[in-house]
């Protein structure tokens, strides 16, 4: 479904990815793990086509979706036409809008308007706390609720493939497990997931396959149980 080949990107003159290749198949959960600064966020921003001035610039390699390169596609069309949606690091919810308005705004480019009520019901069933707080300003939500809102927004925008950037960040353990249970449920209903995590243990328990990223390069890859037993990965990311 998604294939990244030999991707090199730059921020200004600094190269942040030095030839990254990986694939994600339909219906899979794939995780990209690595230390802080490894280039995980950079990879996701490149896929979501969030480019300069703030984002990275692709200088070599390709990102293809169902075989077609998306390097020339603007970010909003990746969402509108390919239904591949990034849930960014730090959530980036619209704090000055109500929860409901955040969700409504996400349907901007939906063409299948008749499915919206069904999707909204699904979101509130998946995250009942959002339903209770639908009239509140999004700013007033707790960190966990904001993360739920960020995921829900992606669902409302019609995502069939979500890119998650550190969804566990800043969540209390209980909420974190809740969140991952919900994500698992989404996957069981057919959602393809590319998960970026610093919390390698959690990510490897959750995903089917994984890639380990280290300073802009893939250094290990394989099914998650193999990665868990890989001595190098164990030492560097799972605390021995």
């Amino acid at each position: 479904m998604l294939s990244v080949t030999n991707l090199k990107v730059k921020y200004g003159n600094i190269e942040a990815l030095h030839g990254v290749s990986f694939t994600v198949n339909k219906g899979e959960i794939v995780t990209l793990i690595g230390a802080n600064g490894a280039g995980k966020t950079t990879t996701l921003l490149s896929i979501a086509r969030l480019g300069p001035p703030e984002g990275p610039k692709v200088i070599q390699g390709d990102i293809a979706f169902d075989g077609a390169s998306l390097l020339n596609m603007p970010a909003h069309l990746v969402v509108a036409n390919l239904h591949m949606v990034l849930v960014p690091e730090g959530r980036h919810i619209f704090g000055n809008l109500s929860v409901m308005d955040n969700l409504t705004l996400a349907t901007y480019a939906r063409k299948d308007k008749e499915n919206l009520p069904r999707d909204l019901d699904f979101v509130f069933e998946l995250f009942p706390r959002l339903g209770e707080r639908r009239k509140q300003r999004a700013e007033s939500l707790s960190g966990g609720e904001q993360q739920m809102l960020a995921v829900s927004r992606a669902l409302m925008s019609g995502a069939e493939f979500i890119l998650l950037d550190e969804p566990s960040m800043g969540l209390a353990p209980l909420l974190m497990y809740d969140m991952f249970r919900s994500l698992k449920r989404l996957n069981q209903q057919g959602m393809t997931i590319l998960l970026v995590e610093q919390n390698a243990r959690l990510a490897l328990d959750f995903a089917h396959r994984g890639y380990v990223l280290d300073t802009g390069r893939i250094v290990a890859e394989g099914p998650c149980d193999e990665l868990r037993d890989n001595p190098e990965v164990k030492k560097a990311y799972l605390g021995g």
Binding site: R49, P53, H76, H92
Partner: protein
Amino acid sequence: MLETVIQQALNALQLGSYYSLIALGYCLVYGVLLLINFAHGDIFMVGAYIAFFAATYIMGQHALIPPNSPIMVKLVFAGFFALIVTAAVSFAIKKKPQAPGRKNYSYPAILGGIFITVTAAIYYWGQGMKLETGADKILVFAVTMPLTMILTSVVGVFIERVAYKPLRLKGANRLYVVITALMMGIILEYGNLSLLGTSRLSYPTLLPRVVFDVAGAKISITKLTAIAASFLMFALLQWIVTRTKLGMAMRAVSYDKFAVPLMGIPLDAVIVFTFFLGSSMAGMAGMLYAMNFPVLDPFMGALVGWKAFVAAVVGGIGDIRGAFVGGFLLAFLEVIVAAVFSSELRDLISFTILLGILTWKPTGLFGKPKTTKI
């Protein structure tokens, strides 16, 4: 005494309606791009001129194009107005979803038909037109107002496309964009000066010279129109930013531009829409101003623009209620100071008071520190 107070209040409301309409434009652009669009006052001036040429042209005075102008010029004008009508119709009837694989030609055919018919109608109507009676002139007003708003917004959006967008794409520091805006304003002023010379145009009377009596105070229809228009525009704008998706997208951009494309929203469309709204309100203000103070000159936008900008800041730039209230606040201050002291002291004292308000509340009356911008 009461009579004087009401009279002054009405004057202040009228003055405030121009300030508010312009301040709203500053506020929208600032909220979305964090750009202080210093060309905005001059967009107001451009609006007044557009309103002048549109009205005089329609009235058959042909200030811009002599009566024996080539057929093409007239056709282009007629076609342009027809385009507006067609766009409005297409918006009203909205395209129905069509079955995949089958092409439906009736929709473009209907629009094409409307376009050609309206073009022809306007062309022939314009040929023998001599608008003399009061009712005719109200018609001229009704046509000139939307035409002015649309043409002015074309100018505003054009400036955004050629001057601000390239800088934004290069990630230029905001300071450069603000300086560019200042330069655009100067270009508009002196462009106008070199195009039309120093001739001060006087605006034709469009609305009947009817004067209402409010508890002894007098108010003309022209003034009343300005006040009503500003309140209507504010209500419309409030509806747009809270109820429509594009309006919500504007607020979203003001809070966090980064995540907007991730909702499938083209950022560019939101920015163009913002300039469209802001400039069309400036155009409206320009026309209303010209109708009440019927002498136009290329620098008329400078001081009014500055004042509206200050009004927007005092109201809390980034909040449309703030901009609206700020405009009226400034107008009332000016009128009160002029009445109590003298009109020479008007700007000195009223701006000192505004300075005091800002010192007391640096984020403006409606501004909240940091969080929201629209």
